[in-house]
Symmetry: C2
Subunit: 199 residues, 2 copies
DNA sequence: AAATTTCGTTAACCTATGTTAATTTTGAAG
DNA sequence: CTTCAAAATTAACATAGGTTAACGAAATTT
């Protein structure tokens, strides 16, 4: 793989405390595959087994569910320097319930489970990285569940645009509504009130 | 610590793939502290720093938030062989937003962060355990967020009692309502409909 | 630029859930 | 066993948010 593709991921690991030799860097570069994806392209569809975890180099991915009534519910947006995937399917080889697709033209690095496990054996520092990643993910999910229990849709919307202004700029409002668990028309109503009353 | 207190935790680690020598077992036993707690006793209060992660030997803990209007929202129940704590506060030393108290007389094992970190250095197998623990926790949170986006209160209630029949037996309904994010009167209504229509 | 599709807004109406309060049931403590 | 407190139920009413549909504005495609 070209250096320019793997470099951001190496930086990512190092900025989270991993200490990587040149050999390590080569091993990592060999384990990940670079892919360039078109807008609207799927990287995972419900029913598939998630064979890869995906690191976003550029672009924007969306992870969503389709319920029995056919409605889409967005679980997560993944922008540059974030991950996307379904850990459940990845580690059990069972079919995923999630769909992941590109909201923009997107470039990613992907790693298969076998390769990730080998990587973690060969580079113990990465073990620490993944423990930290999952731990922080647990902390973030705690906040998200807490918000859904404690806050109104209006409060959750304000929190969202303050916390993820960049995503707010890049995705249409009806997708933000879906992420917040409300109908597009409801978000419109909320925005109307919020902006009318002086932001 | 007495063997009978540490044994369940050692079994817990081994059942998740850790291979532990006698020396390891002793190190672990020395790192955890046993505590017996009365019903209603707090093990963590909002504003405190979470100095311990807690493994439940016996009893039942509840983790909850109090919002600005003074309402309680239950985030989690922890029964035998589960953990309780606030990872955010534990790892940052910042004050927690959560309260954890005992719904029953409860016995626990607790470990301070410094001791846990030492443990993970001395027993690499535990590193793998914690990565697995957090990863599974992420998977569980994904399901919980998915349910809150896709399912009605009725569906979430049915799922809860099917998945956690034991907790359902041990905690009052208004606490289950709080966990589900609905008012006690609403849960009553839901139960009325559900049981009347033949379960 | 025109045409077409997607998106956002608004309004009318509907439904699930919240709120409060009264009443009954259950459970704990003396 | 009795008493008292906590929990559950029920009903009346209030409200946030859902649904649908119509319309106008953007954005994309041709």
């Amino acid at each position: 793989m070209q250096e320019k593709y793997i470099k951001p991921l190496l930086n990512h690991f190092e900025s989270r405390g991993a200490v990587l030799s040149d050999t390590h860097n080569e091993i990592i570069g060999a384990a990940f595959q670079y892919r360039k994806l078109r807008k609207n392209q799927y990287i995972l569809q419900a029913g598939d087994v998630a064979r890869y975890e995906t690191y976003v180099l550029k672009g924007l991915l969306r992870t969503y569910l389709v319920d029995e009534k056919g409605q889409e519910h967005i679980m997560k947006f993944s922008i540059e320097d974030w991950w996307a995937g379904d850990l459940y399917s990845y580690y059990t080889n069972k079919p995923t319930s999630y769909n992941i697709d590109c909201l923009e033209e997107t470039e990613v690095l992907q790693i298969a489970r076998e390769d990730l496990e080998k990587l973690q054996t060969e580079i113990p520092g990465l073990n620490h990285y993944y423990q930290l990643l999952y731990r922080n993910s647990v902390i973030a999910f705690n906040k998200r569940v807490a918000a859904s229990l404690c806050n109104t849709a209006t409060e959750r919307y304000i929190e969202f645009i303050e916390r993820y202004p960049e995503i707010d700029q890049r995705v249409p409002n009806h997708q933000i509504a879906s992420y917040l668990g409300i109908a597009p028309a409801s978000l419109s109503r909320i925005r109307g009130q919020y902006f009318r009353s002086g932001r």
